[in-house]
């Protein structure tokens, strides 16, 4: 187990390096003169030349990447083109909000998803199973941002139960969290169901029945514990989709998180800010996946061995 953790940690390092490289290279994909783009339209030739010098754009590519990495390791992600503040500062202000949003949405994903999956699996092909599965199908089919708009219309505009936008109180959080978590919950529900139906066929469930164990114990103790192990991986992957989805949901609900920061920066062509935002979100995702993998390995050790 310890060996696995070390191995997995070592595998993470090149991936994070790869991510920085990709983010760096994407900047190089900017069509035309990077310095021109950085300086913005109507900048004088002189400003452009200054920028070129400042950003080391005259250096060969690998030197530029080396400088970029050197900065990163010191926590320097460059400066915003918009207000010349350090990128990292701006990100640190916005990041906690997005993390909060993503964590709550993950909780929704887990609780609703697993509950729905159990309801389905307990009586497969029954009316309750069909209902849950149809809802889950709708959940993965509707765009999250559209769902957010509809929820906003119903609960904030028509019923006026909840505020329209922002991120100041629990009431503000309900709709964005639901809109963001629904697709994940639907996927987790489908996964939980199929995993449980798989486990129910196992020999040890027959053994439990032959011992005279009561039905609810067979479901919650014997089946669920085993069935949830593969669900861990799905939740981990869903966290990535959630993190990406914050861009859309924060835009719909006007939440000043990292996603909205990235979006605004794209609109303003504030490339260092986009770069920094994407990089931070990706590193978080990589670390979450690392954690999930270890968790999975830990729970699966008892089954793996067979």
């Amino acid at each position: 187990m310890l060996l696995f953790i070390i191995k997995r940690l070592l595998q993470t390092i090149p991936v994070i390096f790869g991510v920085t490289l990709v983010v760096f290279l994407i900047m190089q994909m900017v069509p035309g003169d990077t310095a021109q783009v950085l300086a913005g339209e109507g900048a004088s030739q002189e400003t452009i030349e200054d920028l070129r010098e400042e950003y080391g754009l005259n250096d060969p590519l690998h030197v530029q990447y080396f400088d970029y990495m050197k900065g990163l390791l010191q926590g320097d992600m460059g400066q915003s083109l918009k207000n010349e503040r350090p990128v990292i500062d701006e990100i640190m202000v916005r990041l906690p909000i997005s993390i909060e949003l993503a964590i709550y949405a993950t909780i929704v994903t887990i609780i609703f998803g697993i509950t729905a999956g159990i309801i389905s699996a307990v009586r497969p092909y029954s009316a309750s199973d069909m209902t849950v599965m149809v809802i889950a199908l709708l959940g993965i089919s509707f765009p999250s941002f559209w769902l957010g708009m509809i929820l906003m219309f119903i609960f904030s505009v028509e019923l006026q139960w909840l505020p329209v936008s922002g991120w100041d109180s629990v009431q503000h959080m309900v709709l964005p969290v639901l809109a963001l978590g629904t697709a994940g919950a639907a996927i987790v529900a489908r996964m939980t169901r199929s995993s449980m139906l798989e486990v129910v066929r196992q020999d040890y469930i027959r053994t439990a029945k032959a011992k005279g164990i009561k039905n609810y114990l067979i479901i919650y103790k014997h089946t669920l514990r085993n069935a949830l192990i593969p669900v861990i991986t799905v939740v981990g992957l869903q966290f990535g989709a959630l993190l990406g989805g914050t861009v859309l949901i924060e835009s719909v609900f006007a939440i000043n998180g990292l996603g909205r920061l990235i979006l605004e920066s794209i609109r303003m062509r504030d490339l260092p800010m986009v770069q920094g935002g994407v990089l931070v979100a990706s590193i978080i995702f990589v670390l979450v996946n690392l954690f999930v993998d270890i968790l999975y390995k830990f729970f699966n050790r008892r089954i793996d061995i067979n």
């Binding site: 196992q202 020999d203 027959r206 032959a210 005279g212 514990r225 050790r301 008892r302 089954i303």
Partner: protein
């Protein structure tokens, strides 16, 4: 006089599908007496496992008991509700399955798996159940049971696991233990250890064992009486001694011939040719006729019944077994 524990009469367990009816268990009569060991022998697919699952009312979909009765101490199990059966399973009747690797829940400690069985049937505390489970582990010969109880199945070897399975099955002192190929998945030395353990415990706890196996060697070692099954039917029933001394049904003879004999120069293994017919096939004659060296016209036309000979000391289902005229038909109305 031997006391009857379990009496199966005319049991039929069929798999009803769109493609037809699979007669997996097709009219079985069996009696298990208190404290004895009855073996059911046959190739895989002959319906022996379904017979045992029928007793516990655990036949998997789309299987269904369509006829017959299974009486435990005179009480018919077929008519019981699921709730009533839960009180019987693991308590009065226990079962050991073939695969020790997969028949224990991988995420629950072995101690807890034994303790929960006890708690399902007896009103005792968690702690008492834990102490009892450790006792059970000791009883089945697991060294340092206190530590083992806290372990999960993946930490135990195959033989150990099967001991745990046995401990689990015996935790509530059942009157009947159904052992479905309990040693098949184990290697030979552990096999004989487990069989010896089961015999010792049987004596100690005074229970009956229904031993299901395809291995005649195991039967010779452990059973008092034997029923040979073929394609959902019993074709021969007698004491173990009688069966090995003088097998009567051509199928039994075939089975015995296919065992390699240790003291013989190893010639060729003589497995019987052909294989068991699918339960979905319709038969008008004897189900074994296709593979039988003695088959004549009558065997393909009429279905033989199980006939008792010599004061009911053994029963055979074969037209060509006519050792004495004392034979009396023990079958019910002739099967259609």
């Amino acid at each position: 006089m031997k006391e009857t524990l379990l009496e199966i009469e005319g049991l039929k367990t069929h798999f009803i599908t769109k493609k037809g009816t699979g007669r997996v268990v097709d009219g079985i009569d069996l009696t298990v007496y208190k404290g004895e060991t009855l073996g059911i022998v046959g190739e895989s697919g002959c319906g022996k496992s379904m017979t045992s699952l029928s007793i516990l009312q655990l036949v998997p979909e789309p299987g269904k008991i369509v006829a017959g009765s299974i009486k435990l101490n005179g009480d018919d199990l077929v008519t019981k509700t699921e709730k009533q059966m839960q009180a019987i399973r693991g308590n009065h009747i226990s079962m050991i399955f073939q695969e020790p690797m997969t028949s224990l829940n991988p995420v629950i400690t072995v101690g807890e798996q034994i303790a929960e069985t006890i708690r399902a049937h007896q009103p005792i505390s968690r702690k008492e159940a834990r102490i009892k489970s450790i006792e059970m582990l000791r009883l089945v010969g697991i060294p340092s049971p206190e530590e083992r109880a806290k372990q999960e199945p993946y930490q135990l070897s195959g033989g150990m696991r099967q001991r745990v399975v046995i401990a689990m099955a015996l935790a509530c002192n059942p009157e009947l233990l159904i052992a479905d190929e309990p040693t098949t998945a184990l290697d030979v030395t552990i096999q004989s250890q487990i069989i010896k353990l089961m015999k010792d415990l049987q004596k100690e706890l005074n229970m009956a064992v229904l031993f299901i196996t395809h291995d005649l060697g195991v039967v010779a070692e452990s059973c008092d009486r034997v029923a040979v099954m073929y394609a959902g039917e019993i074709v021969e029933k007698s004491t173990t001694e009688e069966l090995f001394r003088k097998p009567k049904h051509p199928y039994t003879k075939g089975l015995l011939d296919s065992i390699p004999k240790i003291n013989e120069v190893q010639e060729e293994l003589t497995p019987m040719k052909g294989s068991i017919p699918s339960p979905f096939t319709e038969h008008s004659g004897c189900k074994f006729a296709d593979r039988c060296p003695l088959a004549t016209d009558i065997c393909f036309e009429q279905h033989p019944s199980l006939v008792a000979y010599e004061n009911d000391s053994y029963q055979v289902r074969c037209f060509h077994y006519n050792e004495s005229t004392s034979g009396k038909d023990v079958g019910h109305a002739k099967q259609s």
